[in-house]
């Protein structure tokens, strides 16, 4: 049974580890600075399907298959799979994973889903509900654009603060004691809403949530950024990444050189015209599973805080005058 450090902050006791993991990404992500790290690049944005939504479902199924195959794990071995995505009613997950017939917990954490899924999977193991649990999420540029912004064929101009939703997915399969990367603790996010109502400036909306979660975890564990090799946020992009150190400085925390952001890493700002960087559930999921977990396995990193951030609005909630509530969940991953 885990140790409770503060409200929503826990340390695990039963050695939940990431036994296997996989990543998959689209062409543009494959052309970016991290292109070589993904297990598979899919050049066709339809992934052989009739619609982009069906393609996103196939991304999820495929990335779970990759993670399972790498770990030589069958679907009968997995007691629970938790997943979510950005599409209305999370159909990317439901349609993608239904043929696996693994007991399924649907999540909605927007772009924080990978961290929420890792927490849920670790909780499942820590509770003893099963021997293995999987977490998966995805995003797709074309499904997200037409749902949250404009139909692609409209050709709307993107604002300077906008980010590019990644076509990508990541999956992790957890079990007790197997694998080099251990989840030693975590922090469940609180919803933060600082009044941002610009749907093209998610970084500004999400940075306060990341700051709240990071500061709560550091405080509860009596640690500081220097105790970690890296503190990796999900998709704050360049705007949000410039705000986070300021917000933490206001709380007396110096991030120093420890901060990285998956959204700021996945594209080349000089050549790929993505404005403030990448975003989407699949951004942090694929960068964690394609770049950071392998670095932990290779021993290049030992202690990492993975802080995926999500914006919990809908187009309708903004049309009705709402602001953007955001959340950030934190997972502390340690090389064994």
């Amino acid at each position: 049974m885990a140790k409770i450090l503060a409200q929503g902050v826990f340390q695990t006791e039963s050695l939940p580890c990431i036994e296997s993991f996989g990543s998959i990404a689209g062409k543009k992500e494959g052309d970016g600075p991290l292109g070589d790290c993904f297990d598979r690049i899919v050049e066709d944005s339809h992934f052989g399907q009739e619609t982009w939504e069906q393609a996103e479902s196939r991304f999820q199924l495929e990335v779970v298959r990759i993670a399972a195959a790498k770990g030589n794990i069958t679907k009968e071995d997995v007691g629970m799979i938790c997943a979510g995505d950005l599409i209305n009613q999370c159909t990317g997950s439901a349609y993608g994973l239904k043929e696996l017939e693994i007991p399924f917990l649907g999540l909605y954490g927007a772009c924080s889903t990978m961290a929420e899924g890792l927490i849920t999977a670790a909780m499942f193991l820590e509770a003893g509900f099963g021997e293995r649990a999987a977490a998966v999420t995805s995003s797709h540029f074309s499904t997200a654009e037409r749902q949250f912004r404009y139909p692609l064929s409209y050709g709307g101009q993107r604002t300077p603060t906008s980010q590019w939703t990644c076509t990508a997915a990541g999956a992790a399969i957890l079990s007790r004691g197997r694998g080099a990367c251990q989840i030693v603790g975590g922090c469940i996010g609180r919803i933060a809403d600082m009044g941002i109502d610009d749907i093209t400036n998610m970084g500004a909306a999400m940075a306060p949530a990341a700051a709240e979660t990071v500061s709560r975890y550091l405080s509860a564990t009596s640690t500081s950024p220097e105790d970690y090799d890296l503190i990796v946020t999900g998709d704050l992009g360049t705007v949000g990444s410039s705000l986070l150190p300021q917000l933490l400085a206001d709380k007396g925390i110096d991030l120093a050189d420890r901060h990285r952001d998956c959204g700021s890493m996945i594209f080349d700002p000089e050549t790929q015209d993505t404005h403030c960087g990448g975003s989407g559930c699949g951004c942090s999921a694929s960068v964690l599973c394609g770049h950071f977990l392998p670095r932990l396995e290779r021993g290049e990193l030992c202690e990492l805080l993975f802080v995926a951030t999500g914006a919990l609005m809908s187009p309708m909630s903004l049309q009705q005058g709402g602001t953007i509530p955001a959340i950030a969940h934190l997972v502390h991953i340690k090389r064994r």
Copy 2:
């Protein structure tokens, strides 16, 4: 640490109990056969807000406040709240609960959300991530109609197999060893898709998921329907409720007189013109928390299986030719 009985089936060990709970419903639900059992009836479908979506958020906040007040529990006492709803991007939950500042896990299980939430909350306690956890969900007739079917002002005719989305919410706060109702076990649902593609016939889409989950739990626990006082499904409605016994009979299980369905109970079929009954996340949540948990507390029931069912499609997934994937999660609740 829990005991694993089969894939996705668990028995708890740390005495997770429903310490407090609350229910709230709209005018039509208040006029129905269960009207007297809800903690609060809200006659105004806007609940003092400008939009129905904002009203649904207020339903969630209010029902958590009711549950907390009844148990004399403060928001600082609750280590995690999990919630979801039917509105795109689950904004009913995010906007409704943000001011509580309780660490938040967003769920998407469609109308199965109350059972998914109870499983997640029990898992949180069983894992030792905190001392208390809350599960809440809601639905609203007017938000669901315009999102999944037609704008209300269009006045579309409802088909004979359609159900009426309840304007209602339910919340439960769990802790270890406090309260008369103990969660002794449960079963995480698998996604079932039998090829139904009629968005006005959810009962038929969801019944196979309920049958799979119930039969898996009975098999793993070596029990039969006679071992329980009632097996309560969420919102199969009259069509789905007529299918469930047949589907279970095919698996050699005789439901006998044990089955009840929240959707078939909440409205009066003679006078309320709801066709196949009620539906929506708030239907099973409010009937569980308003009717069944009090009956357990009063000792009228001792062993209850709560099986909330959800349909995981979106209007777009059906427009693209998809069928309706469904899921059912089961929670075994026992009077102590």
